[in-house]
């Protein structure tokens, strides 16, 4: 409404604006062109000739094109605001003090990358109670740790120090940094950016860690797929995570991973890239080429500690996989705070017997990155390979599941190899028998054995300390990690239990995930109102605040209202000479509600066993009659997690 007139009064319509807007805008002062220097020279012919190029006043334009002055004024100012872009001033913010704007180096804000819908959804899941977040920051637990920040630091300070070691050779931190930068650029070139999910299905080989770090450098999010997983499990994870790319072997023995993932693209619409290691397969990208090739592209800013870092899927011992988003805050603060507790140092060599597809395996790597130690890689666990690697690679610490060491012991490998380099053995992943800890402590007199309890939801939550009294690691999994609180509660009343009482283990702290991704049903029951995570594990706390894990709530057998934890019964069954491994699961019963069904694998050379034999054995060991298994199922092998924990959910009772 220029000069106070309405459009109706001056006869301006949208049609008039559309018709004459552009020419008016161009004839006005908005674009100016001057040839020579006519004003200073008072060159009147040139001044007159160039008058239109220098921008006419509204009245002059009106006269030139046949509109009224008020119409021109209205149309010009309308165009001026309609064509006006806001937010350009921010281009200036980094300039000055010698910094100059360079058009060729500047990407307008509206052309800059943005998080995808999927990435924003993942970020939205990273929600923590503000009082807890404040506490974590004030206590120094949450800091600015990022994996790429740690890598940059180690590569700058000690470029020649070993970062990755295999029996074939070493890769220094400087070399690792370079390869990671190459691969990150190659990933970025194909459109992988901050917040995108990239899945990895590889064993513990250097390429795993290079890819892991490259994804992290971009601020993309890593999801790990266990090596034994095949199409059904992979599809479930890729779909739920909405992964944009997957990194895998081209093939491994009979498993044609690349072809499988190519086939899965039809079911997983977000999956754009299959990046394979090995021989070239049409439709896939070569991981080796991407690591070696130099791509001339500028990487985006790296992630920050609050960004999503991992999207892992729970081991699924009881149910279908659940997506666990974790930030650098969660994961790296845990590593940073635990490293001094475990006396880890720069000159250490870390070995994980557990695959990096499991957070426990990654934990050893995160600890190594926290201090700048070396990572000794065991691609696939075999008892003889583990002890051979320890003997030759001389690791200072090994992260292992009890079953790994038990398997080595079973065939006498611990006595045949030099394991003297080990200063630290950490057990986790499944329940560890006191005998195993004691035996190992006896065999490795100079080695400290640590028992740890962790979950995908929080990495390392509870563990024994190096200076604990003797026997602590055999009896318990120790005390909460720095930044973690733990308690044992009555699963039904929710009240905290006294020392010695068995109940549900609940934890909370700076390492705890914020909640399952896109799974409100699981989240509704996973947390208490005051933010404690219901782990589902049964535990007891002793008077020194050490916790002992005693089983899983879901594994409790409720036989006619009498509930018991089958863990003790399983341990007694495992001591039967005919039994290699046992697992007891509840069996529906119309009268009692539930009864116990024992699944067993037989010891080498044993062909059969009867239920009566088992019950007799248990009764001799003074077990209560109501805890005796009432059905026996012999299986060839147990379904195991990567940390060799029995997946009871996969034990199907015949005919049930």
């Amino acid at each position: 409404m220029p000069r106070g007139f309405s459009r109706q009064q001056i006869g301006v319509t949208e049609a008039l604006i559309e018709t004459f807007g552009d020419v008016i805008f161009r004839m006005s002062h908005n674009y100016q062109e001057r040839q020579g220097d006519p004003y200073r020279n008072l060159d009147w012919p040139e001044i007159e000739r160039q008058r239109e190029n220098m921008g006419l006043a509204d009245a002059e334009i009106a006269q030139r094109i046949g509109l009224t002055r008020d119409q021109v004024l209205h149309i010009r100012t309308t165009l001026e605001h309609r064509r006006f872009h806001t937010g350009y001033y921010v281009r200036l913010l980094d300039l000055g003090g010698g910094k100059r704007f360079r058009a060729e180096r500047f990407t307008p804000h509206d052309e800059r990358p943005q998080f995808s819908v999927e990435a924003l959804e993942l970020r939205a899941a990273m929600r923590y109670p503000s009082d807890l977040a404040t506490k974590y920051i004030q206590n120094g637990w949450w800091s600015d740790d990022t994996l790429h920040g740690w890598l940059d630091k180690h590569a700058a300070e000690r470029p020649d120090s070993p970062a990755i070691q295999t029996l074939e050779g070493q890769l220094s931190y400087g070399g690792l940094h370079e390869k990671v930068a190459h691969l990150a650029r190659a990933f970025y070139e194909i459109g992988i950016g901050p917040g995108d999910v990239v899945a990895i299905q590889l064993p513990n080989i250097p390429e795993y860690l290079i890819a892991y770090l490259a994804i992290a450098r971009l601020g993309a999010v890593i999801t790990a797929i266990h090596m034994p997983y095949r199409a059904a499990e992979c599809e479930s994870i890729l779909k739920h995570s909405r992964a944009k790319a997957v990194i895998c072997f081209t093939e491994e023995r009979e498993y044609k991973a690349a072809e499988q993932f190519l086939g899965l693209r039809a079911m997983c619409p977000k999956l754009e890239h299959i990046i394979s290691l090995g021989s070239k397969v049409d439709g896939t990208l070569s991981l080796s080429d991407m690591v070696e090739r130099r791509v001339d592209i500028e990487l985006p800013e790296g992630p920050v500690a609050s960004d999503p870092f991992l999207l892992l899927y729970t081991s699924g011992t009881t149910s279908s996989p659940k997506g666990v988003p974790l930030s650098y805050h969660n994961i790296l603060s845990n590593a940073r705070l635990n490293a001094p507790e475990l006396a880890l140092t720069t000159d250490g060599i870390h070995l994980s017997a557990t695959p990096y597809s499991h957070l426990y395996g990654l934990y050893s790597f995160h600890l190594a990155m926290a201090v700048g130690a070396c990572n000794l890689l065991l691609p696939v666990f075999k008892p003889v390979d583990l002890v051979t690697l320890i003997e030759n690679g001389r690791p200072s610490a090994v992260w292992t599941a009890p079953a790994h060491i038990a398997a080595c012991m079973q065939v006498g490998l611990l006595d045949k190899h030099d394991l003297s380099s080990l200063k630290l053995v950490i057990f986790s992943g499944s329940a560890c028998s006191p005998e195993l800890v004691r035996t190992l402590e006896e065999k490795l007199a100079e080695t400290v054995v640590v028992q740890q309890w962790g979950m995908t939801e929080l990495q390392s939550g509870i563990y024994t300390r190096l200076d604990d009294p003797p026997g602590t690691a055999a009896r318990t999994t120790g005390r909460p990690s720095p930044g973690t609180e733990a308690r044992v509660v009555d699963p039904e009343s929710g009240e905290e239990l006294e020392a010695g009482e068995e109940g549900e283990l609940q934890v909370r702290g700076c390492h705890l995930f914020p909640g399952y991704l896109r799974n409100e049903e699981a989240n509704a029951t996973a947390f208490t109102a005051d933010g404690w995570f219901r782990t589902g594990d049964l535990a007891r706390r002793d008077k020194d605040h050490n916790f002992a894990i005693t089983g899983r709530i879901t594994e409790i057998i409720n036989r006619g209202g009498l509930k018991y934890n089958p863990r003790v019964v399983e341990e007694l069954l495992d001591s039967h000479p005919k039994i290699l491994q046992s697992a007891i699961v509840p069996m529906p019963d119309t009268v009692l509600g539930e009864k116990a069904c024992a699944f067993v694998t037989l010891a080498p050379g044993v062909s059969s066993i009867r239920l009566e034999e088992l019950c007799e054995h248990l009764l001799q060991l003074q077990i209560a009659k109501n805890k005796l298994p009432e059905r026996l199922v012999v299986v060839d092998e147990m379904p195991l997690t990567p940390t060799r924990k029995v997946i009871k959910g996969k034990l199907k009772i015949p005919g049930a």
Partner: protein, 307 residues
């Protein structure tokens, strides 16, 4: 006592006006050819449209900030880089000075925008006044005036019914500087063109190192500098944004809130400044008498040379 206009010696009056302005801090003072101004400026924007009996157009220029100011971040420069208020104060005083000493009506020319024409059209062109008064020449940087000795100045004008002899425009144009010509020969752009954050400057230099064509995309420049225009645009965007966080951001994100701040308490002056073309201009920043320190040193050299 005011003198009678008939008794005033134009040359002496001009001399006293120049002395007054310089005493108050002006670097350069000149009188524009009124007829030329009237002929160049469009109807409605001529001196006679403000003051029908105007006989003379006086233009004065003041210097900019310190040398150090050119090195501060652009976001700080935007607050204190301009010194036009200093020029306006001198012009305001000069109008009274003329009325007091010579008894003729004078007016401090309002430097503001024409209320009838929107925020991009001034009432008067201070640029034309200064250029014809011989205290600045049009540069390739969107016709910003530069002076060979004083570099980049801010201008103010006074209209008076006093007859004063007018000055001639500068005999030569300091823009482009030799170093700018050199860069242009290499990359096809002068520094001001190359480093403009919105690339609103374009042009050509002829074979003699003189300006051939100056192109200025004022609409683009406005998007960078005319922050008062951004305020209604931001409101419009907020109205058009979906309710919820998008609308909240459209009003309250830091960039938007700082607009309100500048519009209210934080401006300390006008807001139509970017400075990046002048920051890289060798004339603006390195003219021999561009600031008081340089002028003092030059005066000292002259004195010592005289001895």
């Amino acid at each position: 006592m005011p003198e009678s206009p008939q008794e005033i010696d134009p040359l002496e009056a001009k001399q006293s006006i120049v002395e007054y302005c310089k005493r108050k801090g002006a670097l350069a003072v000149g009188v524009a050819n009124l007829q030329a101004v009237e002929r160049i400026c469009p109807p409605g924007h001529r001196p006679t449209d403000i003051m029908p009996r105007v006989r003379s157009v006086i233009s004065l220029g003041v210097g900019g900030q310190t040398q150090g100011a050119w090195s501060v971040p652009a976001k700080a420069m935007g607050y204190f880089g301009s010194t036009e208020n200093h020029a306006y104060r001198i012009a305001y005083g000069l109008a009274f000075f003329i009325e007091n000493h010579f008894g003729v009506r004078s007016v401090y020319c309002p430097p503001d925008m024409d209320p009838e024409s929107g925020p991009r059209v001034p009432l008067q062109s201070l640029k034309v006044h200064a250029e014809l008064a011989g205290i600045g020449a049009r540069s390739l940087a969107g016709d910003i005036l530069l002076h060979p000795d004083y570099g980049y100045m801010y201008f103010a004008s006074v209209f008076t019914e006093l007859d004063l002899p007018h000055d001639e425009p500068l005999a030569s144009n300091p823009c482009p500087a030799p170093s700018c010509v050199e860069l242009y020969r290499k990359v096809g752009q002068t520094p001001c063109m190359k480093f403009c954050p919105v690339q609103c400057l374009n042009g050509e230099i002829d074979e003699n190192g003189k300006q051939k064509i100056m192109r200025y995309d004022m609409a683009a420049c406005a998007e960078m500098t005319q922050q008062y225009e951004a305020v209604p645009a931001a409101i419009m965007e907020a109205l058009e944004a979906p309710a919820g966080p998008d609308r909240e951001d459209a009003i309250f994100d830091p960039d938007r809130k700082i607009l309100w701040y500048k519009m209210s308490v934080g401006s300390g002056g006008l807001l139509g400044q970017c400075f990046e073309c002048m920051r890289v201009c060798p004339i603006a920043t390195n003219a021999p008498l561009a600031d008081p320190v340089l002028r003092h040193r030059a005066a000292t050299r002259d004195t010592q040379g005289g001895k």
